[in-house]
Symmetry: C2
Subunit: 312 residues, 2 copies
């Protein structure tokens, strides 16, 4: 059966690849992307939303493809000047990228919601597919580390390049954060919900930590598919496998399925892994490694075709 | 008699030229520059201090000499991106210049005073001469205009390019603003106080509007010299003559002397003007038009030599 509305849950770079593939496959009215905002932070008085920007820039064909984030051919004049002023410029801010942060900060200070800001920016960048922040309320991932104690997420991820050993993760503010109406609507209208190949603990868990979010998803009697970010026991990019090890979770795709539990009813894993069967889950191997835009489109298409068979 | 300590009061571009000449003439311990901050404003969550930056960039040999403000060879990548996001980019912000605003905003939000911020920035830019904001408390020039009613200063000055007709000027916040200790100290220790060739109504009046400031200056029994910004009935640059006309003040150098009144006891005017005598004032013609760095140094040197004769 053809699928009319897909909702994708993602974090940043890894999820953006699948988002790109789905955007090429599906018209705007058939795809809504819900994005983690627990990496968001304040820097020099600017509100930075790394995952929202990565998704928006990727869909808007502006992203620096080599990095997977930031703007292609951006300059760093401001950052160089800031270093000359004696600042520790550990977080890369391109000059073009800065415009996004300045506009967002201005709009937020003027009372706009992050949902409204995100829509304004994607409209301006000609991104037609809907991108929704998971919440308009601040949620912040805090990483408890062996070496440095509690670290704000960007300190852990960027400043220390995810090298500290993770002991625990907290999503501060989540208890009071609300699910925006459009996110609820998109989930209730979805014919399929896809959890992108993002880091389950760093990118997806904050979304699921919002009160009511797990239920909004679980109660939907539609394919609820997670795509494994673990391939052959390791992660394509970033700290997923490392964190699993540190949290005492076996570094294999099945651990991701186990982690999501009854949130999902189907699981897509990589064809390099051994055949995977999990009670209560439909499973299917795919080539999940996306090196080229073609890889992204092929995975998106195969995934959607498979999901269609699940509702037949 | 040789002069040991000079204090210069200035606004932006015009005053920066004399500041540059004096900086070339006098060692750092002999010159303190007190700068108008009533043009300061918030833009995109950033605290912008146009006059402080113009003075700092000029003394640090970074200024865009063609404009008289901003950074030489700066780029406008951020501003171009902001325009693409649909914003009205009426205020020019260079990419390198942005670093100053970001650092300042961060420091202010972290509790630093504007005096501390200004010192940090000039240190980083190797400016040795002391630059002091007139106050650490916010004062904002508001321009009452015939066409648009009350305008914030930058709206009047930059957005509308000082074309609206000025009916009155207000320096909001001045009543509660305090004179920083270093400004008081510099004025009490000065052997000469020079009011730069800045716009008396827009740049110098806000400084004088601080409670106690006129007295801090007047009570000093030292040369207190204003340099006329009016040459041959007009202004070298900017709206000084236009504002005089709109406020019903005759457009000539003597009106500037009259405006300052007993604040000053000496007055330097341009040699193109008719010989000027004002009761109670020592007056002297100079070549006040500063087109080259050499002009600035020559005026600074002649001015200081003349001031030395006043205390003989």
């Amino acid at each position: 059966m053809a699928i009319d509305k897909v909702v994708l849950l993602v974090g940043g770079v890894g999820g953006a690849k699948l988002a790109y593939g789905l955007k090429e496959l599906l018209p705007p009215e058939k795809l809504t992307i819900i994005v983690n905002t627990a990496d968001d932070f304040w820097l020099y008085g600017l509100r930075i939303c790394p995952d929202l920007d990565t998704i928006t820039y990727t869909l808007g064909e502006r992203v620096n493809k080599k990095m997977g984030w930031g703007i292609a051919n951006d300059t760093q004049q401001m950052l160089g000047a800031l270093a000359e002023l004696g600042e520790d410029t550990w977080f890369r801010l391109g000059d073009i990228d800065l415009a996004t942060h300045l506009l967002r900060t201005k709009m937020l200070r003027d009372g706009a919601t992050l949902t409204e800001v995100t829509e304004r920016i994607r409209d301006a960048l000609d991104v037609q597919h809907e991108i929704l922040p998971m919440s308009n309320d601040p949620v912040a991932t805090v990483v408890e580390t062996a070496e440095h104690g509690r670290l704000d997420f960007q300190d852990y991820f960027v400043r220390y390049r995810w090298q500290p050993q993770v002991q625990a993760l907290h999503y501060t503010g989540a208890d009071e954060a609300k699910i925006p109406p459009r996110v609820r609507e998109a989930l209730s209208a979805a014919d399929a919900i896809i959890v992108g190949p993002s880091n389950p603990w760093l990118s997806i868990a904050p979304i699921l930590s919002l009160p009511g979010m797990r239920n909004c998803i679980k109660e939907r009697d539609v394919p609820r598919v997670a795509v494994s970010p673990i391939v052959d026991g390791t992660a394509i990019k970033g700290p997923t496998a490392k964190i699993m090890h540190e949290l005492g979770v076996p570094q294999r795709a099945q651990s991701v399925a186990d982690y999501y539990g009854d949130l999902i009813n189907a699981f897509a894993y990589d064809e390099q892994d051994a055949p995977l069967t999990v009670d209560g889950l439909r499973t299917q191997p795919f080539q999940t490694v996306m090196r080229s835009d073609r890889d992204k489109m092929v995975l998106a298409e195969r995934l959607v075709r498979w999901i269609e068979t699940l509702v037949d």
